[in-house]
Symmetry: C2
Subunit: 116 residues, 2 copies
């Protein structure tokens, strides 16, 4: 068992093409004992975006703060604090906080890749 | 892709022997498209506890609110808002909010069981 405040984890700029003002922290991964899935923390500043993309790994998301447009969703819905979002394998998705006035932060759980 | 506020999910009393004042909501599971791991929301009221227990499934936890004693941890540590907790397979663990004055709530991600 271990416990750590998420703010103690190293901050990485998200380097997906087209991403802006977005950082990520690994919270739980292979190096900390996880076997098949990992927990990450994302924060998209006002004016920021992770553009539409897709991949094999599904996402299980819990929104901690703010509100953002869910790119790829039907009806261009939004996700906000206390919302849960599930994104299926290979489903196009992204998060748009360009119209927001506060950070959009969320937990994202993803299957571990062999390369992680 | 789907989005739901966690408060819309059904509340279940936690029935693990010895548990008190503790509820759980399934946020993402097999019935909502998850393949190998699930996300749940737990809330332990002041005076409540989930006593020490263990099982095969590891836990990936993010604390949303409050503070509780981590049963089974070295040095009887606590977990509080913004903390991440990892509990390994078969590691004894529990959460004690009997001395707390506000709810202890957290996200807990767990491998899916065949029976889920």
């Amino acid at each position: 068992m271990y416990t750590v405040n998420y703010k103690e984890r190293e901050v990485h700029e998200v380097d997906l093409a087209g991403s802006k003002k977005t950082t990520m922290r690994w919270l739980i991964g292979k190096s900390t004992g996880a076997k098949s899935y990992a927990m990450r923390y994302f924060e998209i500043q006002p004016g920021g975006i992770i553009p539409e993309h897709n991949h094999d790994e599904e996402h299980e998301i819990f929104v901690l703060q703010g509100e953002a447009k869910l790119i790829g969703s039907e009806n261009h819905s939004t996700a906000k604090k206390d919302d849960v979002v599930f994104i299926s394998s290979n489903e196009p998705h992204g998060y748009d906080n360009r119209a927001g006035n506060k950070p959009f932060s969320f937990i994202c759980v993803i299957p571990l890749l062999d390369s992680d």
